[in-house]
């Protein structure tokens, strides 16, 4: 299944600066494995040592958080849109309040 994965800005250095990449996978889990094969280092940023999605990273299938679907086992279908959204502090360029 080919889907579009939206890569958050902080992880784009691992995807040659691409904001969106195409990836294959029947579930979120296999999708992350395939992403790792194309973009080494990505999995470690998204998942912990046991392979679970880190608690400060949320993954959305279309507009739904996979935690409220089937987690990593959530099925992925052709044409789905995946967004990876980590917690970001969101601020200014000089570390001051914005």
């Amino acid at each position: 299944m080919a889907v579009t994965v939206r890569i958050p800005t902080p992880l784009r250095r691992l995807t040659q600066n691409q904001a969106e990449v195409e990836a294959e996978g029947d579930t979120i889990e296999s999708l992350i494995e395939n992403l790792e094969a194309s973009y080494p280092g990505l999995k470690e940023r998204i998942c912990d040592e046991s392979g679970n999605v880190r608690r400060f990273v949320n993954i959305y299938l279309n507009d739904e958080d996979i935690r409220f679907l089937d987690g990593s086992a959530t099925a992925v279908n052709d044409g789905d849109d995946i967004s990876i959204i980590p917690a970001i502090a969101g601020g200014s360029s000089d570390g001051e309040r914005d």
Partner: protein
């Protein structure tokens, strides 16, 4: 019927003729008290438009002074304000735009020690801060106080907005129960931000604040708005309340404010 001066009727005429606002809505705005966390990139546009809209009381929390490098995006401040406290510079700008607005300045950092004292006096919080400890602090305090918070964040060319309204939708901890380790949070100092971006994101926060205050439309409760300036796309994601949330879940474990600096240094 309403207690407007003739100047106010003229000033707010474009609001008053909107059926969603009207005289009653404008009165509500004038009686509303909104707290801006930060008078920087996000707090500037939000503060300007909320002041122009006639939000009667605007509190501003910021302990910083205006720096030349702020002026690329922090439009509450001008070149002649460099070196001034941001709260003072903001007060002058807001008073000039709309003398109806009472500005309360809090030239402090918001901490676990002063958060309740500061937040208590306001109906709604516009969060434009730039650091995770403050976001968790504001979340926990507003959940305990039951006050809505309009959350905005920016990074380079992208922004996010949502409304956390206790009792009506999820809170920040439903999304991210624990913070990322510091080395996984990109440094904004190195990252940069396109100056117009906080203008867009901060104004979305302003309109969401007005919707919540007037109870009109559908505020971004349980929805995360993502904006990308490079692709010029807006996208909405669904946010759900987590029944096991430590702050707002069925059996909350957070009953008091903690040391958020330490909390956000958690090593993995």
């Amino acid at each position: 019927m309403y207690n407007f001066s003739s100047e106010q009727i003229e000033r707010y005429s474009r609001h008053i003729i909107l059926k969603e606002v009207g005289g009653m809505g404008q009165t509500k705005l004038l009686e509303s008290k909104v707290l801006l966390i930060g008078a920087g990139g996000l707090g500037s546009p939000a503060g300007l438009y909320l002041a122009a809209a006639g939000v009667g009381t605007l509190g501003i929390v910021d302990d910083d002074v205006v720096d030349m490098s702020n002026l690329q995006r922090q439009v509450l401040h001008g070149t002649s304000d460099v070196g001034k406290l941001k709260t003072e510079s903001a007060r002058e700008t807001i008073n000039d735009i709309n003398p109806d607005v009472k500005v309360i300045t809090h030239p402090d950092k918001i901490t676990s020690a002063n958060a309740f004292d500061i937040l208590e006096g306001y109906d709604l919080i516009v969060d434009g801060c730039d650091n995770l400890p403050t976001r968790y602090l504001l979340n926990d305090a507003t959940v305990m106080l039951g006050k809505p918070i309009v959350h905005g964040s920016i990074f380079q060319f992208e922004g996010q907005v949502t409304v956390f309204h206790p009792g009506r939708g999820p809170c920040y901890r439903c999304l991210y129960p624990t913070p990322p380790p510091p080395d996984m949070v990109p440094s904004c100092q190195e990252a940069g931000v396109i100056g117009v971006l906080p203008g867009i994101v901060g104004n979305v926060q302003a309109v969401e604040a007005i919707k919540v205050l007037l109870d009109i439309g559908k505020p971004l409760v349980g929805q995360l708005l993502l904006f990308n300036a490079l692709s010029m796309e807006f996208k909405k994601l669904t946010l759900r309340q987590d029944p096991s949330c430590p702050a707002c879940g069925k059996n909350p474990t957070i009953h008091e404010l903690i040391d958020y600096e330490e909390f956000c240094q958690v090593r993995w």
